[in-house]
Subunit: 362 residues, 2 copies
């Protein structure tokens, strides 16, 4: 067979070749083309969101999460149109180290909220998902009941190269969810790096989930996290664990007294629950409701949201100023040299800084 | 008398006037001129410093502290010449709220150190002195013995407009003191604002001074400060206070166990002393000596100093990048508008940031 193909008259003549099998299915191509044609416009997405359409919401979030610069103006249009319909919500941050049962808790808490008429959106801030991409499926399968709930919307972790990038996307996703009518936004953080701080600066209420241990409850807690918490909930207070959980509650209450008073005027509350047995969830909701009653009455709620907006504006600016400087090719080179000179005491840190700055601004 | 002066021939003629008394003393003027002429050169100052001349050291610090841009190259010359002779010291930061007896402690500790052959420089970081200028005389008079000590050098707080400015001057003053042969640098912070953090990032060892209270020792401590401390010293352990101080020691020891291990490998030590009765000072010096033995052996000492140098370089750059941006006249105007738009949810924080950045970089 092969020899027949080589019956050519000249070394330069090209062989006719054999018919190649199609490397893609024609029907798949047609689907892609159709899909591209039907890529919804910003207006379509906005209309869908404002009607509470979860598919439109999902698609809009995908646009917001896109790193394609061509999407920037579309993102801005969507956000701009959603902003006047956003902000009518409560935003709850939930954190806790792996193993405390965050997903089970959110499943129990979320279904409780929808049962009392709330519309719940669950978002996750997970800077580590950039690398692993592993938590996406995990989250959804661990919230089996909530994912099927008509009044719930679960969006897995946005991925991004930096925590700043992830935070921006999550902040904008909150706006879209609120515009779509979700009145209770739950933002889960996986407790990696600085993600708790980022989440704390985008929520109204911060809940720290814990489990009881062997008496040394305070060991290994990142100090800053406890200081941020508006409530500490000790999960897995079931079976043999009930007594231990109560003891942990006493210990945390004592520890919380060591912290200075919060500017919200709120005194952080400690409680126990079993997400597995779905007990204690109503008490948690009572604590959260009390908090919002207080901070809406004393105007801390509005003030904090305004402060958060300004914080994110300034944070974005500061990050970008640094990014521009440290990614400047000339600075990259000079910085390495100066780092060495400074580390070995050949140059004072301030002189090195001045040299770098004058090179950048020249 | 007055009428005689008005015997003029024309309205336009000027009166001769009476001889005025001299408004300054001629001898004072001569002194000033002589002094200006003898303003020491960078070379004079460097020679003096390296000989250990305290007058030259003092004058050089004044140059370093100067905000006159004309002095910049002189400052750089002095620092550059001193750097190779610096760094052979231990740097100890001391903090504590007003009333714990910091000055009395430094007096007792400093004189102990000179008695065992050390050369001690005491510097103060006090961002509040910019406003009050009040602590300068206070410091010196409260350290009566040390100020007369040949082997001690006390320099009151550098004033500056920002903590960053104060920190830079203090860092450079450390270099000069070390080049002048001072082997033990004590940096006192008055516990205002972020000054403890700034001091922590320029010393090897951080000492928190406390007094015993009514059993609630942990109340009101800024959390971050306790976490930074390499040693907690309970002062005023004298007279009726001895038992209370011991109790406080136990409480602090228990509290310190809650913190994660330090990367230096050092376990923070709690001890008591009476700066007034000069008791317990030798134990403190033993603790500090043990620390330096450990961190010099495990190379944490060198690593930390290198990290601190790089930290200050990057910190200076980042502060200057922000300062350039936020002091840009166009940005000042735009920022106000955008702050309002963002606070009232008319614009997303990220869109506002992008607008400001593109205006700055255009």
């Amino acid at each position: 067979m092969a020899m027949k193909q080589l019956e050519s008259k000249s070394a330069l003549s090209e062989k006719e070749g054999i018919p190649q099998p199609e490397s893609f299915s024609q029907s798949a191509l047609e689907k892609i083309v159709t899909n591209r044609k039907h890529q919804p416009s910003a207006e379509d997405l906005i209309t869908g969101i404002l009607k509470g359409d979860k598919v439109a919401l999902s698609r809009a979030i995908t646009v917001v999460e896109s790193t394609n610069p061509a999407h920037t103006s579309k993102v801005n249009d969507i956000i701009h149109a959603c902003l006047p319909h956003a902000n009518n919500s409560i935003r709850i941050g939930i954190t806790g180290v792996p193993g405390v049962g965050k997903s089970t808790f959110i499943e129990a808490f979320g279904t409780y909220l929808t049962s009392i008429g709330k519309k719940v959106a669950v978002l996750t801030v997970d800077p580590s998902s950039t690398i692993s991409h592993g938590s996406i499926l995990g989250d959804k399968t661990r919230m089996e009941e909530l994912v099927k709930d008509e009044n719930a919307f679960i969006r897995p972790a946005a991925s991004g190269e930096t925590l700043g990038g992830v935070a921006r996307k999550t902040r904008e996703t909150i706006i879209l969810c609120e515009a779509a009518g979700f009145d209770t936004i739950i933002i889960e953080t996986v407790g990696v790096g600085q993600s708790e701080t980022a989440v704390h600066s985008m929520v109204d209420f911060f809940l720290l989930l814990k489990i009881s241990g062997a008496g040394d409850e305070l060991q290994g807690i990142k100090r800053g996290i406890m200081e941020m918490a508006d409530s500490i909930v000790i999960n897995k207070a079931d079976g043999d664990n009930v007594a231990k959980a109560k003891l942990a509650k006493t210990e945390f209450n004592r520890a919380l007294h060591l912290f200075p008073a919060k500017s919200s005027g709120w005194i952080p509350q400690v409680t126990t629950c079993s997400a597995y047995e779905k007990t204690g969830i109503d008490t948690i909701w009572k604590i959260i409701s009390d908090y919002f009653e207080l901070v809406k009455a004393n105007h801390y709620f509005d003030q904090k949201r305004q402060d958060q907006n300004q914080f994110w504006m300034l944070e974005t600016i500061n990050e970008q100023l640094k990014s521009n400087f440290y990614n400047n090719p000339e600075i990259v080179k000079l910085l390495e040299e100066n780092k060495l000179a400074v580390a070995s005491n050949k140059k004072s840190p301030f002189l090195a800084a001045l040299e770098l700055l004058s090179s950048y601004f020249k």
